[in-house]
């Protein structure tokens, strides 16, 4: 496959867990004082800013890629781009850059400006800088970006960039990300293929556009007037990259008829790339045998291996050229005890192999919706594992199961996720797609959406309210599934002081004026056991006197609300995670007071979620109880009214106060 390209898009390499790509630059300029802007740039400059772009910070007037592929399938890419600054903040939108890695080469990179007063400039050597991909502490990357800092970038200026780059030899796919954060007036992609070389195309969130054959086996796609995709003011929206329109052209092994065949070819390519990487060394064999010795069942055997990798292999990314896609050898990973997502998957496959369990690579993207079954592509940023389940294994702890089109069952597991137990799956991955890289059986697979019982929190609080309004009490919480994993990660990534501060801040978000009197947690070593927090709080003036009344908010802690508004909705609504969350709070009211009134119960049942809440009084106890269940991770825009109804009800319930009065 070839690289995944254009602006604002992510490249193809498996950075793992969405670690950001670098940026870079370099360049050279024309002779000082002598500016010759190419005709294509001058032509694009004449384009009037269209009305639909008037609110944008900048507009792309012209953007063209030409990929010239040689007989071996390696491409040279020429990019031409013309942007205009429309607003002061648009200056940052018109920077030109070229990202490259060790297997790539920038042939040239030139930048011109036609200023608002029509003066013409060409960027000089001093207007280019270059940056390494050194900003991420847990990553070692050879990627670089050459950045042009064009002169005279003011409102009204037009920036013209042209670059040519020899691309990596090992990818035979281009992903054209033709929708960005600013509108584009005209854009084109050309693929110039050697005679006889086939190609295929696929489109994501856009109607297919038929190409022109401008020369024999030289294809050109054109798109006009592409609006910006701006999600800034859209509440609870899916991932930007999942919504943005794009297309892909394949000219390698995946350039075959039929989506299934294309996915098969992509999976086969991954299989070949990682072939022999998982081969176990004697040390791996010995370690695995030691781990599984005496394991009474499949689950125990499996969980001992997965937990070993989760706990002992430190996450560290090494990206050197193809190393962005290809894992290290299992023996090296095991010896060094570190690696990235590909490496962890490799070692897992290796150890499972020793244990007699088949497992496979599954390239995915950590952002739900980016991998599209109708868009066969290597596009993605993460690697997880599919573990083949023997037919006789029916263990309820193994929840994240998919059935492939050959009838085999696979348990989906992410070894990079150091805290989610095997059998479960991180919420962000649920509802996504991935490539099962199983040689000739390769295919695209839908990752499961787990039932609400696989995830959630139970929160219990016992409080005493004093006559002066002070609330004191203790809270016990128990977290399972991805939510438990989230808190385990939090504990992993912080020290004791930070943990307490984070918890204090978290509690104070819904309980203003609170002090944390005690804080401890129970973190069982086994990841499939719940994580528990136990803490005590004091909140002064929690209850307020209102004339003869005493007002007590019955929902003491926590919130289930998600951002929403009343604007017309066209995009799907992201719910985050399936799960079941329960709160149960008992408040002992002060002597001499009785409960006069309580908020009304709430009962909402929708297909994607439900919410039930009650407040009751018995003796001197005010009891609040609620349950929130989410059954889907994303709902269509058509359900916006239901979503608003749900969120309004939750919000109203969370504000509800019980009224006490003196006996």
């Amino acid at each position: 496959m070839r690289r995944l390209r254009p602006r604002t898009s992510h490249l193809a390499s498996l950075v793992c867990l969405g670690l950001l790509l670098c940026a870079s630059r370099t360049g050279h300029a024309g002779l000082f004082g002598h500016v010759t802007i190419p005709q294509w740039g001058l032509d694009a400059y004449k384009t009037h800013t269209p009305d639909y772009a008037k609110d944008a910070a900048a507009v792309v007037l012209f953007h063209e890629f030409v990929e010239t592929v040689d007989a071996q399938g390696r491409a040279v890419e020429r990019e031409r781009r013309v942007k205009r600054v429309l607003k002061p903040q648009g200056r940052s939108e018109v920077t030109c850059d070229v990202v490259y890695d060790v297997d790539e080469k920038i042939n040239y990179f030139r930048v011109w400006t036609i200023a608002a007063d029509e003066k013409q400039y060409q960027a000089q050597d001093t207007d280019f800088t270059e940056e390494g991909d050194t900003g991420i502490p847990i990553m070692l990357s050879t990627r670089k970006v050459r950045i042009a800092h064009p002169p005279a970038v003011d409102v009204g200026a037009t920036i013209i960039c042209e670059s040519e780059k020899l691309l990596e030899p090992y990818l035979q796919e281009t992903v054209w990300q033709f929708q960005s954060g600013i509108p584009v007036v005209f854009q084109a992609l050309e693929i110039d293929l050697p005679a006889g070389r086939a190609h295929t195309q696929s489109w994501h969130n856009h109607q297919p556009v038929q190409p022109l054959e401008v020369a024999p086996n030289h294809w050109r796609w054109e798109i006009k007037d592409m609006p910006a995709l701006d999600l800034r003011e859209v509440k609870s929206h899916p991932e930007w990259a999942a919504l943005a329109a794009r297309m892909s052209v394949q000219w390698g092994d995946a350039a075959v008829e039929g989506k299934d065949n294309q996915w098969r070819a992509i999976g086969q390519w991954s299989t070949t790339l990682e072939a022999n990487r998982p081969d176990p060394s004697p040390e791996i064999i010995a370690q695995t045998q030691s781990l599984i010795a005496g394991a009474p069942d499949f689950y125990t055997k499996l969980s001992r291996i997965t937990e070993y990798i989760q706990k002992n292999i430190r996450y560290f990314i090494v990206e050197r050229g193809i190393g962005g896609l290809q894992a290290n050898y299992a023996a090296d990973i095991f010896r060094n005890r570190y690696g990235d997502c590909k490496d962890k998957t490799t070692l897992l496959i290796s150890m499972l192999q020793v244990a007699g369990i088949h497992a496979f690579y599954v390239p995915v993207d950590h952002r739900r919706g980016v991998v599209d079954p109708d868009f066969p592509s290597l596009m993605g940023d993460h690697m997880i594992t599919a573990i083949e389940l023997p037919p006789d294994i029916q263990d309820p702890r193994l929840k994240a199961i998919v059935k492939a089109n050959d009838g085999k069952r696979y348990l989906i597991f992410d070894p990079t996720d150091e805290r989610t137990p095997v059998g479960n799956l991180r919420s962000e991955l649920q509802g996504s797609y991935g490539t099962l890289a199983a040689g000739p059986s390769s295919q695209v697979i839908a990752l499961p959406v787990l039932s609400p019982d696989s995830n959630g929190t139970e929160q219990k609080g016992a409080f005493t309210l004093s006559a002066d309004g002070t609330l004191t009490g203790s809270v016990d919480t128990s977290h399972i599934g991805p939510e438990g994993a989230f808190y385990r990660r939090l504990l992993k990534e912080t020290d004791a002081k930070e943990q307490r501060e984070i918890w204090e801040t978290y509690v104070a978000e819904t309980l203003p004026g609170v002090t944390l009197d005690a804080f401890q947690f129970t973190q069982p070593s086994a990841l499939d056991k719940p994580l528990e927090f136990h803490y005590k709080v004091t909140a002064h003036q929690y209850a307020h006197t209102a004339g003869p009344l005493f007002l007590v908010r019955s929902r003491v802690l926590g919130t289930f609300t998600r951002p929403f508004d009343d604007k017309p909705r066209t995009l799907p609504i992201e719910l985050g995670a399936t799960g079941r969350w329960r709160d149960s709070f008992d408040i002992a009211i002060p002597p001499g007071y009785v409960v006069d009134e309580t908020p009304n119960p709430v009962d909402i049942d929708l297909d994607f979620a439900s919410y039930h809440s009650t407040v009751s009084a018995k003796g001197n106890l005010l009891h609040y109880e609620r349950e929130y269940v989410v059954r889907q991770v994303e709902i269509p825009a058509a359900k916006a009214a239901d979503f608003r109804k749900l969120e309004s009800a939750i919000l109203s319930d969370e504000k509800g106060a019980a009224v006490l009065k003196k006996q």
Binding site: F32, P88, Q89, G132, T142, K492, H540, A546, G656
Partner: protein, 660 residues
């Protein structure tokens, strides 16, 4: 190190041969170190440094680093990756990289992977690399140990900066510096002065001291039990309390000499730059009228320089543009006026020159940006100073001006230039002085809401945000670099934490955005639902703007560092709820007065009449920097404020109130 402005262009010259210092050798861990699972000296820490060593040997042109780290928790594994940055490509070389991991059982895993030399940043003729490697087999309980050497060519002299405090506790640290200048060579500054003296500025714990072995000419520092860098909210700039030693060459004999020389140099330079030339006098004659008072003159000149293109808020033209437009470099105030453009500092000094030309008594000051750092007199460098401001004498009173801050009202300073030390010129010459602090009256944010409530708790209305001081300056300066649509979006986003959950705000327009001498008013439409009901009662947030306010200083009950809230401030809220027909106020927020004498005050009051209730809240914070010993009072006060701000407004339906 940051180079002193007039130590720039130092010509570091050759130096060879000097006693070599041995790199620390790998150490055999003690059984206690191997067994350690928590450190009583740093309870709960994720890692601790057992040893740190940094040796700079100029004679032998190398700097060496050695570190030994105990990993105590998962987070501590982050120290397993080593990134040696600022290695100048083609100049510095990194050698002798060795590392190992020792497990708690004593197993040793050596570093065998070759470190990577990665380009970090590159510009024309200049590239900085980072050497990156990660140690193998690191687990909780491991001891990580590594060392490396960075060699520099003999023409480079690198005075070390010892950053003593780290993110983690340090048990033992050793620093050493062997300076060397080869006989016959010397270091000069940009004024051609020979810098013969090596000095250092040190901020250290009570018992720590840099030792100079005069015989060997080695400066050394040995420390034990170094606390981790503090990390708390609302801290002053770290430069004021982070332990650090910085060496530099100077021609001064004492600190007093240094500052005297620096002041003299600055005075000469500034007098020259702000010289009220004939051309500037002609200019100012067109700006002011002969009958103007001094204040009128000062204001007219201020208005004139505010109109100039301030490149700190627009864009600095590139070399190519300046060449094309035949613009010369700016060497004096007159150039700024001619070009009608300059940096914030250029424009501030132009103001001085024009005011002088107008016959005003005016002085420049060159101060530290308090958002970045505080002035440290023990650090002998005027690179500490950032910005030029102006002091003008009007009717015998000194008025501070900030002409370099576009949209800053006349007579006010940006908060980062208040309580900021630096050089100032006066009739007595140059002194080191500190600008005054503002009071809460200089930073007032009023929020006035007129809200209609219906029987379902839906709210609709208008909120007026009236701002003076830093808030107004923030939005006005943002509007210089963004169009109004973007400013509107950011204003909407900033309001989300100021209005109750369930309420949507739509920014409508600003009044006075371009008139910096007036209040800035933001008009916002709000709508949503804020009510909650029981059978008889109906609840609304008593303090509309506080219902989800995140009060500072509430969650943490202890404090180790000073508190810096940047500037004093006052909030004044007035919310009028128009009640639905048939509803009456059962209970309003209690009249409240909370006082922290001489520091802060909260007042809440309400008034009911004719189907409406008005709730007023005033909160004044009249402090800027507090000592940690004041934290208990601060914490207690904010606890009370947080509680008072959660009061509810209780309504009853008229019929229900009658018991029906």
């Amino acid at each position: 190190m940051r180079i002193h402005p007039f130590l720039r262009n130092v010509l570091p010259l050759l130096a060879i041969a000097s006693p070599a210092l041995l790199l620390a050798q790998f150490q055999q861990p003690t059984p206690e170190e191997l067994k350690m699972t928590d450190d009583p000296k740093a309870p709960g820490a994720s890692a601790v440094y057992l040893n740190r060593e940094e040796i700079t040997d100029v004679a032998n042109h190398f700097k060496s680093n050695y570190q030994r780290i105990k990993v105590l928790k998962e987070k501590g594994k982050e120290l397993a990756t080593i990134r040696t940055s600022s290695v100048v490509h083609g100049v510095d070389t990194v050698t002798d990289i060795e590392g190992r991991t020792i497990h708690a059982d004593g197993t040793i895993i050596p570093l065998t992977v070759k470190p990577d030399d990665l380009m970090d940043f590159k510009a024309k003729n200049y590239q900085v690399d980072a050497i990156v490697f990660t140690l193998p087999g690191v687990e909780v309980g491991s001891i990580i140990e590594y060392r490396l050497k960075i060699h520099s060519p003999d023409y480079r002299i690198n005075e070390p900066v010892w950053d003593i405090q780290q993110a983690y506790f340090v048990h033992q640290a050793h620093y050493s510096f062997h300076p060397y200048i080869e006989p016959g060579y010397h270091i000069i500054n940009s004024q051609g002065q020979t810098m013969t003296r090596l000095m250092y500025a040190a901020r250290l714990g009570a018992d720590a001291k840099v030792i100079h072995d005069e015989k060997k000419d080695i400066y050394s520092l040995d420390l034990t039990d170094i606390p981790a860098i503090p990390d708390e909210d609302w801290m002053p700039p770290l430069n004021t309390f982070k332990w650090r030693v910085e060496f530099y060459y100077t021609n001064a004999v004492t600190g007093a000499d240094f500052w005297q020389d620096a002041q003299k140099y600055w005075s000469n330079w500034i007098q020259n730059f702000t010289n009220p030339t004939k051309e500037l006098k002609n200019t100012v004659a067109g700006l002011v009228a002969s009958g103007d008072t001094d204040e009128q003159k000062a204001m007219k000149i201020y208005a004139a320089v505010q109109k100039l293109d301030n490149t700190d808020f627009s864009r600095k033209k590139s070399y190519v543009e300046r060449k094309k437009e035949k613009l010369k470099d700016i060497h004096k105030a007159e150039d700024v006026w001619k070009q009608q453009s300059g940096s914030a500092n250029d424009i501030a000094l132009l103001y001085v020159a024009l005011a002088r030309a107008a016959g005003l008594k005016v002085w420049p000051a060159f101060v530290v940006d308090r958002d970045r750092a505080l002035f440290d007199i023990n650090f002998l460098s005027d690179s500490q100073f950032d910005n030029d401001i102006v002091i003008v004498n009007l009717s015998g009173k000194e008025v501070y001006l900030d002409p370099g801050q576009k949209m800053c009202p006349f007579g006010k300073l940006h908060w980062k230039h208040t309580f900021a030390a630096g050089f100032r010129l006066s009739d007595q010459g140059v002194t080191i002085a500190t600008t005054p602090l503002g009071t809460y009256k200089d930073a007032v944010a009023q929020r006035i809401a007129e809200l209609e409530i219906d029987e379902q708790g839906n709210v609709k209305g208008v909120v007026r945000f009236i701002m003076t001081g830093p808030d107004a300056l923030h939005w006005r300066q943002l509007a210089l670099q963004n169009d109004q649509e973007e400013v509107k979006k950011q204003f909407n986003e900033s309001m989300q934490n100021e209005i109750p959950e369930g309420v949507l705000a739509d920014f409508d327009h600003f009044l006075g955005l371009e008139e910096y001498e007036t209040n800035l008013i933001g008009i916002v439409q709000v709508r949503g639902n804020i009510g909650a009901a029981t059978g008889k009662y109906f609840f609304l947030p008593g303090l509309f703007f506080q219902s989800r306010a995140a009060h500072p200083f509430v969650a943490q009950d202890k404090r180790s560092t000073p508190i810096d809230v940047h500037y004093a401030r006052m909030e004044q809220d007035e919310v009028v709820y128009h009640l639905p027909p048939g509803f009456t106020v059962e209970s309003a927020p209690q009249p409240t007065t909370l006082s922290w004498p001489n520091h802060a005050l909260l007042k809440i009051a309400s008034a009911t009449k004719d189907g409406q209730i008005t709730v007023a809240r005033a909160f004044a914070r009249n402090f800027t920097v507090l000592d940690p010993k004041d934290y208990n009072d601060l914490h207690d006060f904010y606890l009370k404020v947080a509680a008072a701000d959660q009061q509810q407004l209780v309504l009853t339906r008229a019929s229900a109130a009658k018991g029906n």
